[in-house]
Amino acid sequence: MSFSFIKHETKIDFIGFRYYAFAISALMIIIGGISLVMKGGPRYGIDFAGGVILQAKFAVPTDLDKVKKVLEGTNLPGLVVQQMGQVKDNDFLVRTSTTDDSSANVQKTVTKALDEGFSGVKYEFKRIEMVGPKVGEDLRGKALEAMYFAILIIAIYISGRFEHRWMAAGIMAAGLFAGITTLQYFHAPQVWLVLGALVITLGLCCFLRLNYALGAIVALIHDVLVTVGFFSLMNKEFDLTIIAALLTLIGFSLNDTIIIYDRIRETRGLKTGETLPVIINKSVNQTLSRTILTSGLAFLAVSSLFVFGGAVIHDFALAMLIGIIVGTYSSIYVASPIIISLTKPDADEPVPAKAKTKMA
C-alpha cells in the first residue's frame, strides 16, 4: 500500500493564471523594495558593516530591558541589545558599530557596566566577534562577486544545456566578460558591476533568443528580490550566512526550474502537434507531484534546522524556508510561463520540426 497526493495527472491551468501570478510577484517585489528604500537599504550585520558583537549568557533569569538600560550608560556607538534564542536561555547579544576600537576595549566597557549593573550575577561571554571596516568591505565585495559569478555560470550552463546552443552561450559569456571588463576599466563600484552583469546577461539572452536561460534568470532574480524584501520587512540582518542561503536557494530554485524545463524539452521532442502553452502547462502538471514532494521535504528538513538548530543558524534557516517557498512558486509561475511571453507569437503555432534539429 502506498499513498499519493495526486493520483492522476492534474490538469490545472497554470498558464492561464500567469498574469495574476506576474501581478502577485510584482507586488511582492514592490513591497520589499519599498521596505528597503524606507529603511535605507538592507540592514547589514557586522560581517558587512563592521563592528563588535558580544553574546553574553547570564546564570540567572535576566530581563532584557534591564540589560539594555545598564548598557545604555556605556555610550557605545550604535548599541543594540537583543535577546538570543529563547527567553529561558538568558542569552543576550550586544552589538556596537565601533570599528576603530578593538574588541578588547568594547569587552572591557561592557564587562564593567555589567559588573556594576548586575553585581553578584554570574555571566559569561559565549561569543565575541569583531570585524574591522576593511574586512567588512572585502566581505561585501566577495559576496557581490559570488552573486555575479553565479549569474554568469548559470546563464551559460542553461543556454548550453537547454537549448543546445553552446555557441550562443559562448557569445554571451564573451559579451558579459567584455562588458564587465569595460566597467572595471572605469573603476565602477562593485554594486554597479553586479547590476551591469545582470543587465548585460538579460540583454544578451533577449538578443540571442535564449528564452530558457532568460526565464530561469528572471526567476532567480525574482527569488532573490522577494527573499531580500521579506528579510527587510522582518527587520533581519544580512550577513555572510544569509548570502550563502541566497546562493543556495538560487541553486534550489534552479533545480526545480530545470526539472520542469527538462519535461518541456522532452514533450516538445515528441512532436504531438500541440502549441507551446499547452506543452508547458502539461509539463508543469506532469512534474507537479514531484515539485510538491521535493519542496515539501526540503521545507520539512529546513524547518527542523529552524526549530532545533540553535540561535546561530536561525536566520540562515529562515532565509532558506522563505526561499524554498518562493523558489517553488517561481519555477511554476514565473520561469515557465515567461517562456511563452518571450517567444514570438508565431511560436503559438504547433512547434515546427525545425526546433528538433536545433536541439539535436
Binding site: 565575541i128 533545480n255 534546522l305
Partner: protein, 541 residues
Amino acid sequence: MIVKGEYMNRNLRWRVLLTLAVMAVALCLVLPSVPGIKNTLLGKILPDTAINLGLDLKGGIHLTLGVDVDKAIENNMVSQGQDIKASAREDDLAVLKPTPLPGTRLEAVLVGSAKQEVFEKLLGKQFPNLRIDGKETLPEDRVKYVLSMTPDYKKYLAKLTLDQAVKTIRNRIDQFGVAEPDIRRQEGNRIQVQLPGLSDPERAIAVIGKTAHLEFKIVDDSIDPASVKQGLIGPGRELTAMVQRGPKGDSTEIPIVLKKDAVLTGEHITDARATIESNNNQFSVSLTFNARGAKIFERVTEENIKKRLAIVLDGKCYSAPVIQDKISGGKAQITGRFSQEEARDLAIVLRAGALPAPVTVLEQRTVGPTLGQESIDAGIMATGIAAIAIILFMAVYYSTAGIFADIVLLLNIVLTMAGLAAFGATLTLPGIAGIILTIAMAVDANVLIYERIREELRKGVKPLEAVDKGYGKATLTILDSNTTNVIVAIILYQFGTGPIRGFAVTLVLGIIMSMFTAIFVSRIMFDLYMSKRKADAPVSI
C-alpha cells in the same frame, strides 16, 4: 529472456560487491570520529581520519591580522639612508640627512656638485635596490637626489616581512602552548590565525599582536620633560611615555626624555624568563644577551655610569634604572610590577623575537566552548529530526520503495561524513545545515525516479519495464538539476570564509554521494527486489 536474466544477475553481483566495498571504506573513514571508538582496539586498527570540527563547533579564536608592510619598507628605507651616508663618507663624499619621503622614497643631498658621477656610481654599485627618480641642483653647490626602491625589491621585502611575521607568530603561539594552531598567509598582506580551545581573545592578541620591539636607550635627565611639552627638544632627543604602575596594577604615564638612538635592541636576546622578585610578590622578566649583545651592553653600561638606562618596549618605557656599575655577563632585567601572567607572556614574546612590522587585528571571532557544544548538540538534534521525519514520510508514501530510499539516505549521510574525513575537510555549523539540505536533495533523486515509475505504471507499462524506464529517464534529469547545485556550491566555496566553506563542502559531497546512492545503490535494491518476484506482479511503490 533467461540469458538476459543471467547477465543481469552476474552484473548485479558485481554491483553489490562494489557497494559493499565502498561501504567498508566509508565505515573505516567515519568510525574514528565516533566518540569512544578512538581508544578501543578497533580505533587503533582504523586509519587516523577523524573529521575536523570548525572553530564554531569546538570553540576557539579566529584572527585576521593585517601586517603593516609599508612600515617595514619605510624602516628599510631609513636604514638604507643611513648606510648611504656611511658609505659616502668612506668615499670622501658628504651626504646630508637622508630622509624618507612619502611613497617609499628617500631624499638625500650631496654636497659638491662635481662629485655627482662618483656618488651615482657608488649608488649603482652598493645600492642596486634603489634607483634615482630625480635630481635637482640646489644653491650652495648641492644636489638633491630622490631615490626610490625598485618594484622587485619592494615585492621581495614585502614577502620577507610576511614570512618573518608568520614565523614569529608561529613561534610565539608554540611557546604559548596551543594545540593544533593554524597560521597561514592570505592575500593582501594578511595572516589568518586559528587557535582552537582558547577563549580569551584579549590575552591571545596581546601575545600575537605585540610588535615587541625592545630598545635600550639612555635617559637625558638634563632636559626637563615639562619644557619639552611646549615643543622645545634638543636634536637627537625624543619624548617618550614612561609607564608607572601602582602596587594594585593601576598604571599612569609620565613623560621622559631619551636619546633617540638605541644603544642596544632586542635582536641580541637569546633568552627571556619570567622571574619572581624576592622582596615583593611581583614579577619581572630577566633577559640573556648573546655574545655580541653582552659586549655592547658591557661597553654601554661602562660609558654611562650614574646615568639612567631606559628599557623601551614598542615605544613605551617600562623602567629606567640608574646604572651603578659596568654590567658584564650579558644579563638584564625588565621590572615593571608585572603580574605572573604578564611577565610570562612578555617573556614569550621577547624570546620569539620582534615582529618585522606592526600588525593590527582586522577581524576577530571567538566562540566559547559552551556555545560550540550547544551548536554541536543543536546540529545533531536538527539533523536527527529532519532525517527521521523524511525517513518516516518516504516509508509511508512509497512503502517498499520508500524503505529502499531510506536505506540509501542513511548510506548517503555515512558517505558524506566519510568524504569529509577523507579530504580532511572541516565540519562547521553551516556544514551541518548543508548535511540537512543534502538529506532533502538526496531523497529528491529518489522522488524523481519513483514519480517517473508511477507515471509509467499509470500508462500501463509492465512493472519491470516501468522501473527500467523510470531510472533511465530520471537519471539525466537528476544529473542536470544537481549540476546547478554543485555550481552554486563551488562558487560559495570560492568566495566564502571558513564556516561557509564548510557548508559548500558538505553540499558538494552530499550531492555527489547522492548520485551514487540514489541512482546506483537504490537500483541494486530494486533489481534484487524485482528478481525475486514474477515479472508482472505489482510493484510496491
